[in-house]
Amino acid sequence: MLTGVTSSTGVANLIYRPTVPDSQTVTTTLEFPYRRSLGPVVGGFMRALGEHRILGVRTPAGEVLVPPLEYDPRTGAALEELVDVGPGGVVGSWAWVAAPTRRHPLDHPFAFALITLDGASTALVHAVDVAGEGAMRAGMRVVPRWRDEPQGRITDIEAFVPETGGQG
């Protein structure tokens, strides 16, 4: 008969231990400086960031994928035609991060957002730096705030910020 959740039928030596105090802990750090080669498409995107340009990649169907991939994620077909998009765009979904983690791009509260850049068919995930969550809304227009010293990383865009000039 199949009953019970944790079956212990016929097992004499179950010694499961529930949560215990932190008396005997060991802390280890796994750290390594990886060095990634980016290839022509991702590499092209990262280099363009240093020129304050954002690139997408055009599919045969005429869509522009941002961030650009070497392949069409729906079909696997190779892609290579990089085109300029943005740099401004429109916020779609967003999530307010009240307490940033060590790994987040900003050290004060911000939003992660899906941003569809002008001319793009897909959305880029990035940070939006505004004073508070009340300033966030779907459809708001944002532009990149560039890092002073580019590093060839997606964080060369420090964050997106609301576009000034009353658009949106």
Partner: protein, 353 residues
Amino acid sequence: MPATDIAIVGWAQTPAVARTDATEPQLCMQANLAAIAMAGIERSDIGFTCAGSCDYLTGGPFAFVQNLDAAGAWPPIAESHVEMDGAWALYEAWVRLQHGDIDVALVFGSGKSSPSDPAELYPQQLDPYYLEPLGLDPASIAALQARALLDTGRATERDFAEVVARSRRDARTNPNAHVRDEDDPERLLAAPYTRNPLRAHDVAPVSDGAAAVVLATARRARQLTEHPVFIRGIDHRVDVHQPGMRDLATSPSTADAARRAGLGDAPVEVAELAAVSSPQELIVRDAMGLGDGVAVNPSGGPLGANPVMATGLIRIIEAARRVADGTARRAVAHATNGQALQHNLVCVLEGES
């Protein structure tokens, strides 16, 4: 879909907890021993073993190698391992049983999430060029998905709170769950946002635990038990990785897997869904076309206990349990892999017809 019927004849799970001092092989051994005992088989009856786990949870490259100790690999065994939830280990074993030369398989999934901080660890699971350097964490992705769902008008924050409340109430009667806190939707809604539009309780905890399942061919299953639980259909599909390149408010891969697993062929009474946030449950229900009459996550689901890498396999166990005890004639289990429902598995279970 192949013709060979495969049944679940034994299962077990260690009670999931926030933190244990037992090692992962120790957890796995407990689950395996109990599942084997329940199936009423000898270890030597097992023709194939498959495990699911993830090295990065405890930060040990090759951590899975020690889990082999829990499988009883002496004399040597035919064995495989997926860096995926145990539900996919079950899939691999189900495929292996189709060959017909063996009739029993052991599957287990395990994970100790307590040593690491999900917000620190999980960015490592994302595209290393565009997403990982942003430190995009699981709660933030869940919140992007949640707002995408809210913006469709198909759900409200109250719906999220209702999912959490129901899960916690159900978890209270599940000895293997550990989150049984506040279950009043009003008070849940009064909690502060951690990732607006989500509150801390909207995202599943991470737990330590292991689970195991014994599979058998139909003929062998009927010899072993009067109540075999048959896998009537199982399928899994993966979706696009980049969160900005798919509609986060829907899960086409779940819908497709459900269709191919034959979910729609007959009604189910119970659904165990590996939704690791409250909005995800609504999205998966929708993708599967589950009506109001279906009991969703009567175990409390991942919001009550979430031993990553065993969570999906446990959904199959919880669904099978309800078929075996007669609560359900037909049930469905769902497992997920990656963030924001990128990769989904659907398994339809039935008792003897």
